[in-house]
């Protein structure tokens, strides 16, 4: 199909042009003939409109369609609604068997919901596909419209076709006296005063203001594209992290997946006193927390970071008292207070070796629960650490073993050598905790092991020689490197909205033919305001008109 796209003014228009690019004469009637003109994109053809589309054009045209974009948005909204029926798996901190959970909690429907993959709607392939398609549509729609619009607006003809003027929504026609050129020259400064840029050409005039507001929608689209890209690529490795880590008091612990280490120097939890509680809560034995606080120090590893055989070199980078809603924030790495555990954990003891016969004391040596020193020399004695059990128990075969990896009931097996002891040494089992000594009958065990307990004893003299972490603080470590892009995108969207909302692109065309003045006015919105401006301009020029009579649309009369 070959369309004749040549206008009567001689201008060759592109396929799909609605209003002649030069004179503005309507080429395609979108509405009823003689009715108001369709002024979208100033009547320019969308870029992709072609006489003979190929495959690439068809794909391009698909995404270029606003109708398609609307369907895509509606589909995405419907899809997003599906994800709100039941909680999403990503909102659980530690869900080991989601399939079972959905079945048990929500019944058969829950089971179907999980099977359909709706438990993770927002990460499903089809939801991401919809987002990608919306993104494509945004890019292609914008490109297809903004470039022709830009061209149309930057090379406007001053003298427009008569029909173009009379079919605007603001129209005035009337007789003027005197020379047409002179009238136009007189009108120019009057219109300029209203903030318009005025261009004249003989007996025709074009006045225009705030054209930049036309770019508002496209600025919004650029912002949305940045936002969408940030959201789509948020999950890329290294950009996103959401971990729950326990930090025992006084220990420097690595934050998994990073080169950062965090030390919980002190964890505090404070409760409201009875008097501070509201009446309904008083004398009910309720504990309401007033404060959770972790005094945290963040270190960054500077060398030996990825070699587990070497001790990493750490450098303190920041310290912060983490409280609920007051996270530690270092270059996008954020640590939130999440939970705590007040179970004390034994870290080390510093006992002395006592000669039970003479009462002599040797040492004070440090016995760590984790990675202890293997041998100690104390006066004439040497203690060689042979084995340790963190949570002592005897198994079915009567062998000592550990019930758990936690130092609940630690026990240390030494080989002791020295005066009055066998040449090869004698075994001695030591429980640092007094309650374990009695519970497991330390003396009885040692009697069976070789009778060292009669001559020697390990004893912790002061409570200051016991080191334990009083509490563990659970922190939620988060990193979201895509967030700055999300905010940038949204800021750009906001800028675009402001451009489009608070300014309007107004144009006034004038032409005088044989003493008859024809005025056409167009604005992107607020025709009322434009009419008022036109009335004021005409009044200064000595023409009194009623505001409503300018309206060429439905509100006439």
């Amino acid at each position: 199909m070959i369309e004749n796209t040549k206008c009567e003014c001689g201008h060759q228009n592109r396929v799909g042009t609605v209003l002649c690019e030069a004179c503005g004469k309507p080429l395609i009637e979108l509405g009823e003939a003689g009715g108001l003109l369709e002024m979208r994109y100033d009547g320019a053809a969308r870029r992709s409109q072609r006489a003979n589309p190929g495959i690439i054009d068809l794909v391009w045209n698909f995404f270029s369609s606003v109708k398609v974009a609307v369907y895509l948005i509606v589909l995405t909204l419907l899809g997003a609604m599906l994800g709100t029926i039941y909680p999403q798996v990503s909102t659980f901190v530690n869900l080991q068997n989601p399939e079972e959970y959905y079945k048990n909690t929500y019944g058969t429907l829950g089971s179907i919901y999980y099977q359909l993959g709706l438990a993770d709607t927002y990460n499903s392939w089809w939801f991401i596909l919809l987002l990608v398609m919306i993104g494509s549509s945004l890019v292609i729609c914008s490109l297809d419209r903004v470039l022709p619009l830009y061209k149309a607006l930057s090379k406007q003809k001053i003298k427009k076709h008569m029909e173009f003027l009379t079919r605007q929504r603001v129209v005035y026609q009337g007789q003027v006296e005197g020379s047409a050129e002179e009238w136009i020259q007189r009108a120019a400064p009057v219109i300029k005063k209203k903030g318009y840029r005025v261009h004249t050409e003989g007996t025709a005039l074009l006045a225009e203001k705030q054209r930049f507001s036309r770019w508002g929608p496209y600025v919004i689209h650029i912002g949305l594209i940045i936002f969408l890209l940030a959201v789509l690529f948020r999950g890329m490795p290294g950009l996103h992290m959401d971990e729950y880590v326990s930090f025992p008091e006084g220990e420097i612990k690595r934050i998994p997946g990073t080169t950062f280490y965090l030390k919980n120097e002190q964890f505090t939890v404070k409760y409201y006193t009875e008097q501070e509680l509201p009446k309904e809560f008083q004398n009910k034995g309720k504990l309401v927390a007033k404060l959770f606080q972790t005094k945290a120090v963040l270190y960054e590893c500077t060398s030996n970071c990825n070699d587990p055989s070497k001790t990493p070199q750490l450098k303190e980078v920041t310290r912060h008292d983490i409280e609920v809603n007051k996270p530690l924030d270092y270059k996008g790495l954020v640590a939130y207070q999440y939970d705590f555990d007040l179970t004390p954990k034994l870290r080390s003891v510093q006992p002395v070796l006592v000669n039970k016969v003479t009462g002599e004391e040797y040492g004070k040596f440090k016995l760590d629960m984790m990675n202890p020193q293997r041998s100690f020399t104390l006066g004439p004695y040497t203690l060689e650490l042979k084995n340790k059990f963190m949570d002592f128990m005897l198994n079915d075969d009567g062998e000592p073993t550990s019930k758990s990896p936690n130092p609940n009931a630690p026990a240390f097996l030494f080989l002791v050598k020295g005066p009055d002891l066998p040449k090869d040494g004698a075994q001695y089992l030591y429980f640092p905790k007094q309650v374990d000594k009695e519970r497991f009958q330390q003396d009885l065990i040692n009697e069976k092991l070789g009778g060292v307990e009669k001559k020697l004893e390990l004893d912790v003299k002061h409570m200051t020689d016991v080191d334990f972490s009083k509490a563990s603080s659970y922190l939620n470590i988060r990193m979201d490197r895509a967030m700055p892009f999300v905010w940038t995108g949204l800021a750009i969207v906001m800028l675009g909205l402001v451009l489009g909302f608070y300014w309007t692109h107004r144009r006034i065309w004038l032409r005088i033919d044989d003493g008859q003045l024809t005025l056409g006015g167009h604005t992107t919105k607020n025709f009322f305001g434009l009419r008022r401006e036109v009335v004021a301009i005409l009044k200064t020029m000595g023409i009194e008109v009623d505001e409503k009579s300018l309206d060429n649309g439905r509100n006439k009369g």
């Binding site: 870029r47 072609r50 690439i56 054009d57 794909v59 391009w60 080991q96 993770d120 990460n123 499903s124 392939w125 991401i128 596909l129 987002l131 990608v132 398609m133 993104g135 494509s136 890019v139 292609i140 490109l143 890209l229 789509l232 690529f233 999950g235 890329m236 612990k253 690595r254 998994p256 997946g257 990825n306 070699d307 587990p308 055989s309 984790m370 990675n371 202890p372 293997r374 650490l385 042979k386 084995n387 340790k388 963190m390 949570d391 073993t401 550990s402 019930k403 758990s404 990896p405």
Partner: protein, 174 residues
């Protein structure tokens, strides 16, 4: 009609296909938190009780049995002899058995390995890095990894000699 538009269109469409393809594929492949059969075995770099650092990549090209265990965990202790037996049987046929201890210290692990006659590589994971990457919850958990580095099967709980043997035979089957 202007000619320069076609290349611009093609470039933009290509961009959309590449970026969109990446976003969708990473959503499909990377969304599940738990490891599943068919996934690539996550890399690790851990200190062994031999004092050397062991990495997943040094076993490249070999079929692997990765066993997560703790000395306090009864089924782990029970399956140790079976693992040791299979290590001796298969070690010259391109199979490696690796034990990753869940957070105990060197002394405990070393004593345990010596006491039970374990000679396959035993690695320490004090910061739970490997446990996190392999998403370990109950112990023992054993991963069977093909020579290509792909997880072919995940076994939670105690393994007996026969299951272990048949799993490994499947692993080395060409």
């Amino acid at each position: 009609m202007k000619k320069y538009r076609r290349p611009v269109q093609i470039v933009i469409l290509l961009f959309i296909v590449i970026l969109g393809g990446y976003a969708i594929s990473s959503a499909v492949l990377g969304s599940h938190d738990r490891l599943e059969t068919g996934d690539k075995a996550p890399s690790f770099s851990l200190l062994g009780i031999d004092g050397r650092v062991h990495q997943l990549k040094e076993y490249e090209g070999k079929a692997m049995v990765i066993n997560f265990w703790g000395s306090w965990c009864k089924p782990c202790v029970k399956e140790m002899p079976a693992l040791q037996h299979q290590w001796e049987k298969w070690k010259d046929k391109g199979v490696v058995v690796v034990g990753i201890n869940a957070g105990e210290d060197q002394m405990t692990v070393q004593n345990f390995a010596e006491g039970r006659g374990v000679t396959f590589p035993v690695l320490l994971d004090p910061d739970s890095e490997a446990q996190r990457d392999y998403n370990i919850s109950p112990l023992p958990t054993t991963f069977f990894v093909s020579a290509k580095g792909e997880i072919t099967s995940i076994h939670q709980g105690e393994l007996d000699l026969d299951t272990l043997d048949s799993q490994i035979s499947q692993l080395v089957k060409p």
